[in-house]
Assembly symmetry: C2
Homo-oligomer: 428 residues x 2
């Protein structure tokens, strides 16, 4: 038996495209990992009629669970709880213990705030946040907004609903308690045990993978029980497969077939990302970057990770030629002879970073991100890379990357990560 | 008269939260700027029933225009056009000229591809993409997928619909032609002339702005005609106001009032971002960064901008202490005495970058991004900044920033941009 869910994301700033929604994707991923099928995500502004219409739409679609995010704040335009309660025909009442709890949280924050806070509106806001629909269960706030869970109605026309706050950190911190509370736990008991596995490949085209999947369809028994989606992003092709336990042998056969056809491109079958792999292979080593067109993006990505100070020593962003010569010892003649965007200069940058920062391995980029600066011989998107490592020759490479400035920079960063992973391979 | 629109984003990978949707926000912003009201955004996977349900939902909500994104590819799971055509009761027919045009585009791409492409499926895919619903208008492809526009049906139960491809660059490149085509242009003639203006402030709390807005409500005639939404992100409070021309004086009064109460926090009233302001003020100057906890994020952000090579000379990411001393001349004793996360070390880093890279201004960061490394005196989130500039003393500052590692790094980067903007102010 499967459980279907719908997610309603509220917030005028999300609907207007001014803020990227982080809750819909996060909730969807959590649900899918739990074996819940996500049927719809809807986004609405702070208008009660639109919110009612979306919740009613999901109920009409016969989902078993609705999760809403946002609209739980203390101000008048935060109206999710009241709107859902009205649709479900539940009176609202003040939960005095909740009111006390929120007051304590606010008091703690207030003592840290520099700006004076208006006292009457504050109390009214706390009271508003402590209003709970009849028969609903509240979920402890991690910010000031408690969550609310309501069971499906008796006639079965309205499914269980879980109302969570908008700030992603608050929502995520409340997630386990929310799943465990009775109205939601009851729905989840009906979910299927679904496995979800991911294969990641670099520089594999969707067309080539599609051809292999057509072969698999003919060759692998039980292939139809695998629900496969593929997605190409920054040169990485991600294939996610969802399947019930009995289809595990079919999935295992599929992994084998893909490995046989595209072994050189597949870099992960256990869910790890290229960042995980690079970090893992850097254990016990020291790394630096020398970046021109990526402007620090590789260093930023490497240090995004907790604990990266164990292996990231530093980086030089040598945007100007004088920085290439001054901080990375790139010979002026090399720049004059080959141009800043050239493999010899990239090689000198990586070697310079390796020596100046005293690391085991250094990666460099020098390219034309555009929109200006392209020539016939070196059009926009031309990017030279080098990897300098101890006890082996420096390796260089030139790619012609498509798209605009942001695309060329992002693709270059990902390409550098893959070159690092290759260079750090244990068998090399 | 207002025009209301709904947006349907398709794609299993978006619904599953594996890929962030860029089309919904972009389309919503474009529509709002045109004076079209966006009522709903819905996200669905590649299932025809769910797509039909969402389009029908928007029709039931009486929107005047539906825009769909995605599902126009050559493969079987790309089914937006056929699904919408079925709902609208339109037969599909092959547009031979379109088929030829797509073939030419594919041929051009194919000649650049290294991997062999299977010929029969390719032709079938092109034929599929050249199928157009009866009476619909096609929009020239910029990738291989043409768009489709269908007028509202005669009974008025189904609104005009614009079907666009999923890749953001293709969609955006087709936008003007899409708006100009008859079925869509006809709807847009009914739109209101709406202005949209933005005020941006840094370190202004939502509560303080709300108090000023309550004052404005009492004091400013015509205030009710202003549709205001506020949004706090990375310490920046953005207030977007939409209004019809007659409310322009009320908006102007509001800008005056906000300036009076929060002049020190407001940094933009003309739509410019802090990145625009910093870039503008760097004209004719040279900048470098010296980054520890931000790991290159400030340099990456500065160089994100086309033309930034005119003023960005480079950066040193001095993640390890030895890089701080070796490349930025931070005295070892200073690190020993004050710790790497201290204002004296941040000052030395900025000054070192200024001298080593020969720039007019340098900004530095040194902080504890977490999750480890915090102490009682310097908890996670402690970040020291410095700005070193010619002919004036180096300025330092310490902030305690909230949240997890990613949050601390992002807030630090934005804080550095604001410190740079302040330091570069013309009257200083």
């Amino acid at each position: 038996m499967t459980v279907r869910a719908g997610v309603v994301v509220t917030g005028t700033e999300v609907l207007a495209g001014r803020v990227a929604d982080r809750n819909g994707p996060w909730v969807a991923q959590q649900l899918l990992e739990l074996g819940v099928d996500v049927a719809h995500i809807t986004i609405c502004g702070d208008r009660p009629d639109d919110l009612t219409a979306q919740v009613q739409f999901l109920a009409d679609q016969r989902v078993d669970l609705i999760i809403t995010t946002g609209g739980l704040g203390p101000t008048a335009d935060d109206l999710t709880v009241a709107t859902v309660a009205a649709l479900y025909g539940r009176e609202m009442h003040l939960d005095v213990r909740l009111e006390k709890r929120i007051s304590e949280i606010v008091e703690r924050w207030r003592s840290r705030l520099s700006s004076a806070v208006d006292s009457e509106p504050l109390k009214a806001g706390i009271r508003k946040q402590a209003m709970v629909p009849e028969g609903a269960q509240s979920i402890s706030p991690t910010g000031t907004a408690p969550g609310v869970a309501i069971s499906a109605n008796e006639s079965g026309t309205l499914p269980a609903v879980l109302i969570l706050p908008g700030p992603p950190r608050e929502l995520q911190a409340m997630w386990s308690e929310a799943l465990a509370c009775a109205p939601i736990a009851q729905v989840l008991t009906r979910r299927a045990q679904i496995r979800q596995d991911t294969i990641r490949a670099y520089k594999l085209s969707e067309a080539d993978l599609a051809a292999t999947l057509r072969t698999a369809e003919r060759a692998i028994e039980g292939f139809d029980a695998l629900e496969i989606t593929t997605c190409l992003s920054l040169g990485e092709l991600e294939m996610v497969t969802r399947y019930a336990e009995p289809a595990a042998p079919a999935y295992s056969d599929l992994v084998g077939l893909i490995g046989k056809h595209h072994g050189a491109q597949v870099f992960s079958t256990d869910g790890s990302t290229i960042d995980d792999i690079v970090a893992d292979r850097l254990t016990g080593r020291r790394i630096a970057t020398a970046e021109s067109c990526t402007g620090g993006m590789i260093a930023a990505r490497l240090t995004d990770r907790a604990g990266s100070s164990a292996y990231v020593i530093g980086a030089v962003v040598s945007y100007a030629n004088e920085t290439k010569t001054g901080l990375l010892d790139v010979p002026t003649e090399s720049i004059e002879q080959h141009g800043a965007v050239s493999e010899p200069v990239a090689a000198s940058m990586a070697e310079g970073a390796r020596h100046r920062l005293g690391v085991d391995i250094a990666v460099s980029t020098s390219g034309i991100a555009g929109p200006g600066g392209g020539t016939e011989l070196k059009p926009v998107g031309t990017v030279c890379f080098a990897i300098a490592a101890a006890d082996r020759p420096t390796v260089t490479r030139t790619l012609l990357l498509p798209g605009d400035r942001a695309s060329v920079r992002a693709l270059s960063t990902t390409a550098a990560m893959h070159m690092l992973a290759d260079a750090l391979k244990p068998d090399r």
